[in-house]
């Protein structure tokens, strides 16, 4: 099928799933114990004030009516008021989301930039000292929880060795660029503010690397074993026997089939990037939506919690579509089979 049909189908299915997700999380937030109005006003507020708020928030109505009000509000741009910041959650989201997106994107880029070359090199030189180190490190890397990595990084690189800054997104002494995308790196490039770009990037390195480490380990391992397996495939041996130059062989004919399992895994790995952002942002005190979300969860800020979960779902869904598109590009069999189906 055409690419556009494929995307359309996936998008509509995604919308359906996100819709279901919103129902799920809404139900969880409302049905489970606790009175949101009482929580909002505190234990010392008068009963009549609480009752008023309950009316306002439609809490006395049946669940599906409550959901309807929530959905209507959400679609018109309001996600309810946050208990913590007392602002509309949508405003909070606009404030904090770019920081997290920037972090996740940089982490994903680091992931790809490191995992694939390392994996390919290890696979080409299977059983060499390099390969053995890579295999051991990747095994361990997958088992270390993200919050441990973050703490260790902060400690070692941030404080002890003082290589990279560890507080905030940009040094206080640097002038922040005007906000266009919310990505400090892109914004500073757009306004030609080169020192700000480097400074922002330096602040990104530690948390992004801490976030990406588990993924790098996992994907390097998969790439490596994929390369090792493909090196003995007849089509590679055939290319070798025909005298195809080595660089062309490695960078084209070996790379593409070896990438397929790796990219397929990336979908799930992006999930772990999003999830681990919650822990990493907390540790680095990064002003992103995940740290906002954790605070919301600890303070039972229901509107914020719902919003954050939905955002995580949206990011994840989009990332999955992108990953699937890349896999379809790499492996023509997938696109063509869909055509036959």
């Amino acid at each position: 099928m055409r690419m556009s049909t494929f995307i359309l189908k996936r998008l509509s299915y995604t919308v359906f799933v996100l819709f279901g997700l919103s129902v799920l999380i809404f139900v969880i937030a409302r049905v489970l114990p606790g009175d949101p109005a009482r929580l909002a006003l505190g234990p010392r507020a008068a009963d009549w004030a609480v009752e008023n708020l309950r009316q306002q928030l439609h809490l006395n109505e049946p669940l599906y009516i409550q959901y309807f009000y929530w959905l209507r509000d959400a679609l018109s741009g309001s996600l309810g008021q946050s208990l913590v910041t007392r602002r509309d959650v949508m405003v909070d989201v606009k404030d904090f989301l770019p920081a997290t997106l920037e972090l996740i994107v940089v982490a994903a880029l680091l992931d790809v930039a490191l995992a694939i070359p390392i994996g390919m090199l290890a696979g080409r030189r299977a059983n060499s000292w390099f390969d053995n180190i890579v295999r051991v490190l990747s095994y361990v890397g997958v088992a270390v929880p993200a919050f441990v990595v973050a703490i260790v990084f902060l400690l070692v690189f941030g404080f002890m060795l003082n290589i990279a800054p560890s507080i905030g997104r940009i040094s206080p002494s640097i002038m922040a660029p005007p906000t266009v995308t919310g990505f400090l790196t892109i914004d500073s490039l757009l306004s030609g503010n080169i020192p700000a770009f480097f400074d922002a990037f330096a602040h990104l390195i530690l948390p992004a690397l801490a976030l990406a480490l588990g993924c790098i380990a996992q994907e390097a391992r998969i790439t490596r074993s994929s390369v090792v397996e493909n090196l003995n495939k007849d089509y590679i041996l055939s290319s070798v026997s025909h005298g195809v130059p080595e660089r062309l062989l490695t960078l084209k004919y070996l790379l593409r089939p070896s990438l397929i399992p790796t990219v397929s895994v990336m979908g799930l790995d992006i999930a772990s990037l999003i999830a681990n952002a919650f822990l990493v942002e907390l540790i680095f005190n990064w002003p992103g939506i995940s740290r906002y979300g954790i605070t919301a969860m600890l303070r039972k800020d229901l509107n914020a919690i719902v919003a954050v979960v939905m955002i995580a779902g949206i990011i994840f869904a989009i990332a999955n579509i992108v990953v699937d598109l890349i896999v379809a590009y790499l492996d023509p069999r997938i696109r063509m089979v869909e055509k036959a189906a």
């Binding site: 007849d234 026997s241 025909h242």
Partner: protein
């Protein structure tokens, strides 16, 4: 004897596996002369493909040549490196793999793969895209493929088995001016398609004056094609003879059983199989490898492997029935 194009002498190849060492090839020797057509028959797993891969220097990562020599036009093939080896691969010899589906990269178009081979094999300088494509089309036509442009634009999985095999043949034509190795070219195909492929190969080989090593486990396929036949069993050459001679006078017990196992259209009842299986390469000893299935096995067959005994007029047998140990 005229100078041999390819000469394999006493080749030993092992594979290193988790459980130990697989001693697959044990003292394999064969020779191919200029424009000579040679065949190797034997059952699955007897090391035919391993021998060919050793010749083409594409043994798997865990394969080691443990002894013997392979010389091509007098040069030691095993010592060749870098530029010389690449040049040899691009112009002198090539191999058609057993399974054409596995031999083509599934994620690239056929045209791209063929053109990347043609670019380096058929041209010396920097050819233009047009020239390369033209040559590729020409090769596809020599492989009797209709609509070559459409094929160039297709992915391997979009072609039928027979077409894929022809594409592989076209690829080999680009890089084989002297020697062509065909590893069971029709095995994975329909019998009628296999027949077409064999005819095509015959025609190509005649036209270009190529030397051929044809591997098959189908006795019928080799009969009309090759002039000299080798019989392989469990990593050893057990018999070698001109084709007619081998069929009319098979000497090694294995060859005899093998030929008896071929069903004949002219009657003769149900043919007999050969009891037993190939021995495990892990636990191989210095005995004759056929000893467990040989109806004529004697004491000394259990301790020593028989060398090849030359019986004149090109007929050699590796069996103690024909010579003293």
């Amino acid at each position: 004897m005229a100078e041999q194009l390819l000469e394999v002498k006493d080749l030993y190849v092992n594979y290193k596996v988790y459980e130990g060492l697989l001693k697959v090839l044990s003292g394999v020797s064969l020779s191919v002369g200029l424009k000579e057509k040679v065949g190797i028959i034997g059952e699955s797993g007897c090391g035919k493909t391993t021998t060919m891969k050793a010749i083409m220097r594409i043994l798997a990562g865990n394969g080691i040549v443990a002894g013997g020599t392979i010389s091509y036009k007098g040069n030691d093939l095993l010592r060749l490196r870098g530029q010389e080896l690449t040049r040899l691969r691009r112009t002198n010899m090539s191999m058609i793999f057993q399974d054409p589906t596995a031999a083509l990269n599934p994620v690239f178009k056929v045209g791209e793969q063929l053109e990347d081979i043609v670019r380096y094999s058929e041209f010396t300088g920097n050819p233009t895209g047009q020239e390369v494509k033209r040559k590729a089309v020409e090769l596809l036509k020599s492989a009797a493929l209709p609509e070559p442009e459409r094929i160039l634009d297709s992915y391997p999985f979009q072609l039928s088995g027979g077409m894929r095999q022809r594409v592989c043949i076209a690829m080999s034509l680009a890089s084989a001016r002297e020697l062509l190795i065909a590893d069971e070219p029709g095995t994975s195909l329909d019998v009628t398609i296999e027949d077409q492929i064999m005819r095509l190969l015959k025609q190509i080989v005649e036209e270009r004056g190529l030397s051929v090593i044809l591997i098959s486990h189908s006795v019928g396929a080799v009969k009309g094609f090759v002039t000299k036949l080798y019989v392989m069993y469990a990593g050893t050459m057990v018999e070698e003879a001109p084709t007619e001679e081998l069929f009319s006078n098979p000497l090694h017990p294995y060859t005899q059983s093998l030929l008896k196992a071929v069903p004949k259209l002219t009657g003769g009842g149900v043919p007999e199989g050969i009891a037993g299986r190939i021995p495990s390469y892990l636990t191989i000893t210095s005995a004759c490898r056929y000893v467990s299935r040989c109806p004529f096995a004697k004491e000394h067959c259990n301790t020593n492997a028989p060398p090849g005994f030359d019986l004149g007029n090109g007929h050699k047998v590796a069996c103690f029935l024909y010579g003293a140990s």
